[in-house]
């Protein structure tokens, strides 16, 4: 197995006055694809403001992030603004069932076979507690996965130092991710970049826990810090950019790259020990 490059960002497109960074982040993705033609893109929700209407996807998303060279390699999770339409139907119509799910089944998983990772996309905008259909599906999906290392995406972060701060609801996702020894969680919603140390769901630092990133830097007006959050290792509130992950069977590397191509945050971490044995 080789490696899989992932470009991830959320909160991108909309009216230029309120989404001044969208064109630049799409251009950055296109530049990175020249060096990584097999990279995939993860859109972390709130992709087309203000309401996720189909016309907003056509008018604002299509000219930049929705161009065929980017859209054809994009998987997504829905955001709260996508749900300002009935059941986020235009969002699901735009990305299609394979890349987004459906209004009635808005979560899915994809094996990233080239690197031996498991990608799971969840919906933080609907019910997600212990008895919800989504959580039951998640448990079954993680138990049946082909590859050990897990990369999970959903829109609304459990922890955050910027706008919106913490959200209690995704704790259910986090519990499952910790139990499955997931590696990486990617969120948007807050318009800044932030990286956390691996931690337990109750914020106790733990190298066996997942590492959470917030990458809400896709183009919507950036937002500032509102508090200090335990285990936050790095945060930027002043730069549009995207997160480049390089997934390998034994490790992952992260780089937060600003729209002027500067690498502002980078590091590498081996995957959790026991997971290198779980490839089935």
């Amino acid at each position: 197995m080789a490696e899989q490059v992932v470009l991830a960002v959320g909160d991108m497109c909309g009216p230029p006055r309120k989404n001044p960074g969208a064109e630049a982040t799409a251009a950055l993705a296109r530049r990175l694809l020249k060096d990584h033609p097999d990279a995939i893109i993860l859109a972390l929700g709130d992709n087309a403001y203000n309401s996720g209407e189909y016309v907003e996807y056509q008018d604002h998303y299509a000219p930049s992030w929705g161009q065929p060279d980017l859209l054809g390699r994009t998987w997504s999770c829905p955001g709260n603004h996508d749900y300002r339409t009935a059941a986020a139907a235009p969002y699901f119509q735009y990305f299609g069932e394979q890349r987004a799910g459906t209004p009635s089944r808005s979560y899915y998983s994809v094996p990233l076979a080239s690197a031996g990772w498991h990608l799971v996309s969840l919906n933080s905008e609907i019910e997600q507690d212990a008895h919800s259909p989504q959580l039951r599906w998640l448990r079954d999906d993680l138990a049946a996965r082909r590859f050990g290392p897990i990369l999970a995406i959903w829109h609304r972060p459990r922890w955050g130092s910027g706008a919106h701060r913490d959200s209690k609801k995704p704790r259910w996702f986090l519990n499952e991710m910790y139990a499955a020894r997931a590696e990486v969680i990617l969120n948007g919603h807050a318009h800044h970049y932030e990286r956390f140390a691996p931690q337990r769901p109750d914020q106790i630092p733990d190298p066996q826990g997942p590492r959470q990133f917030i990458v809400g830097t896709g183009g919507r007006k950036l937002q500032g810090r509102t508090k200090d959050t335990p285990n936050s290792e790095y945060a930027r509130f002043d730069q549009y950019g995207l997160l480049k992950l390089t997934l390998r069977p034994d490790a992952y590397r992260w780089e937060f790259i600003s729209v002027d191509s500067r690498v502002l945050d980078t590091g590498e971490q081996p995957i959790h020990e026991h997971q290198s044995l779980t490839h089935r």
Partner: protein
């Protein structure tokens, strides 16, 4: 899309308190001369009052659901302001109400998806 939701006591109390805060904010904004924002906040409050008045079961429209979410966003600002002023207990109480409002939004979204 109209969805009939069952609300818990906590959710209805959260709606009632959020409406009170929004009406006070709307009054202040009106005095300050920002009429559009004042009217918008008053509109969110009216939606929340309507939900409270419906009792345990209420019909929520798609616009009403967006009003609840917007109300939660405004409350986030109030929470952050209380926190900045070291009024911690108030910030914690407002945070709990934000979570209850979000519960209503999530339940509406789930029901809307199931009906699609």
């Amino acid at each position: 899309m109209n969805i009939n939701l069952s609300l818990t006591d906590d959710e209805r109390h959260a709606c009632r308190r959020a409406a009170l805060l929004l009406k006070a904010l709307a009054g202040g904004l009106r005095e300050a001369g920002t009429r559009h924002e004042a009217d918008t906040c008053a509109g969110y409050a009216a939606t929340l009052d309507g939900i409270v008045a419906s009792g345990e079961c209420c019909d929520v429209t798609s616009d009403g659901k967006v009003d609840v979410e917007q109300a939660a966003f405004v409350l986030e600002g109030i929470r952050d302001g209380l926190d900045n002023a070291d009024l911690d207990e108030g910030a914690d109480f407002v945070q709990r109400d934000i979570e209850r409002l979000n519960d209503i939004v999530f339940r509406y979204n789930s029901a809307a998806g199931a009906m699609s």
